[in-house]
């Protein structure tokens, strides 16, 4: 890690859902221009980590993006909404708070932290083009130029520009999700499982796109089950197991790690 600016600083991060601890004390930093990958098996806590960084989950410890605590501009706590269903009416009212109403979503996007969720959260009943347009909702700029950039990156989106998002294939949807994120002109792109269920062909397209994005100066944090895919792209890799980092280092070092070789690289 060079001496460049620290974009994201995470310190002793803990997240619990009821009695279950999803993250149990995670610390790491991401500097401007880094490509960081968080790898690990399903259920290790990667999605929770990305949700926490994006402000969707309440947490203990500290997450600072651009020196500002994420907690102070939470977007929403979807976990709490889920939990509501288990409660009596009285409790339900008591625990719902203003938290869901903060201006978090606006400021987060304005500051360039753009999140691509595992579920993609596209606007299914809108055309590809409109989905992309909405990407510029907070961060305007030269829309057509950005659109051309995205279409260059993912030519298939241009072919399908007038199709409804929900009619796209899984791979196309993933490209659209990344494309929409890029429309927001991200400073840091946070991706959760972008290759899940995709064909090798599409994976390759996405890999190329991510490489180019990083070259353009965008910081990338990638949470990924596909270890090979992540290691090929990242400068710095963290292996997460049971809510903790089990290994960390650059890809070369980790490829040599016996544990990673036997469990994740199948060698």
């Amino acid at each position: 890690m060079s001496g460049s600016e620290t974009l994201l600083a995470i310190d002793d991060l803990e997240v619990t859902y009821g009695k279950v601890s999803a993250l149990r004390g995670v610390s790491f930093d991401v500097d401007q221009g880094d490509f960081v990958a968080i790898i690990g098996p399903n259920g290790a806590g990667k999605s929770t980590l990305s949700d926490a960084i994006a402000g969707f989950v309440d947490y203990d410890g500290s997450i600072e993006y651009l020196d500002e605590e994420v907690r102070d501009r939470m977007v929403a706590s979807s976990v709490d909404i889920m939990r509501q269903q288990n409660r009596t009416i009285g409790e339900r009212i008591g625990t719902l708070t203003d938290r869901y109403l903060t201006k978090g979503a606006r400021t987060m996007v304005r500051d360039g932290l753009i999140y691509c969720t595992e579920k993609r959260n596209l606007f299914g009943e809108m055309s590809v083009q409109k989905n992309l347009q909405l990407g510029t909702y907070q961060r305007k700029g030269n829309v057509s130029q950005r659109m051309d950039f995205v279409y260059d990156l993912f030519p298939v989106l241009q072919e399908r520009r007038d199709q409804l998002a929900q009619t796209l294939s899984g791979g196309e949807q993933q490209q659209l999700a990344i494309g929409r994120a890029l429309m927001s002109n991200p400073r840091m792109l946070l991706l959760d499982e972008p290759t899940l269920g995709l064909s090798p062909r599409v994976r390759e397209d996405i890999a190329n796109a991510l490489t180019q994005i990083q070259q353009d100066g965008v910081t990338v944090v990638l949470c990924e089950q596909n270890v090979t895919f992540a290691m090929d792209l990242a400068d710095q890799v963290y292996l997460m197991e049971n809510g903790l980092f089990a290994r960390q280092g650059n890809p070369e070092t980790l490829r040599g790690d016996e544990y990673i070789q036997s469990v994740y690289l199948g060698e």
Partner: protein, 287 residues
Amino acid sequence: MVDILPIVISSIVKGSLYALVAVGFTLIFGVGGVLNLAHGATITIGAYAAYLIGEGYALGAPGAIAGAIIVPGLFGALMYIVLIRRVQDDPVIVMIMTLIASIGVESLIGQIGPSGQQPQILVSGNTPEVLGVSVQYHELLIVFVSLALIGALFLYVNRTDTGRAILATSQDRKGAFLVGIDSSRINLWMWVLASVLAGIAGLFLIPSEGLSADMGLWPLIFSFAIVILGGLGSIRGSVVGAYVIGTVEVMTTSLVDPKLTGLTPLLLLLVVLFVRPSGLFGQEVQV
């Protein structure tokens, strides 16, 4: 023997009026995922505001129109900010809250407001006869304004940034967060917009129904039938549903028995609910 033309005209007038109410009702559901049971009370508020400002302060039609827009709009904003925002993620609590609020508002108006007044607040008189039928100018106005407002709404939602943000929020709230749309702002705006539409409906109800605290109740109930029929959250479905329900209602009362008023739309609603809960026009939010 039965003259079909008056029935058709009545159906269109009813449908136009219901559409104003139902579209607002469905907007709030589509975007916020909650049913606003105080929507009927908003209609009443619009009517009383129009009457009190228009007639009471002798500001005439402009005053009445301003009253029917501003006061319900403020009420909608207040409802959302004070009462709903904190509980908006729990649809059942929202139903309870809005129901309590509507009862409170209606009983307050019933106590302190006038009742029974039925002035021709905007226009009066009838058109000349065409094909042996003459229509009240007031009814023409309802149809015209309703179509214009709903048309404008379609354009607004499809052509503007905020409109697209509304659609985005209704289709995927988390997705909207991801592109930086502040859903509570959008929700607030929806409550205001829907309340204004309801207020205008209230204004139109004055000459035909007269002022009463519960004048918004039946339009609200018809809205249930309309939005279930059209698919909760679908604006287009609500508009079509409004004309369908308006026609069904008019047909029942004019051709079968006036005593059945209100019953057929409800029965229709039950059937749709049990057979195809997502409504006749698909399920999730769309224009």
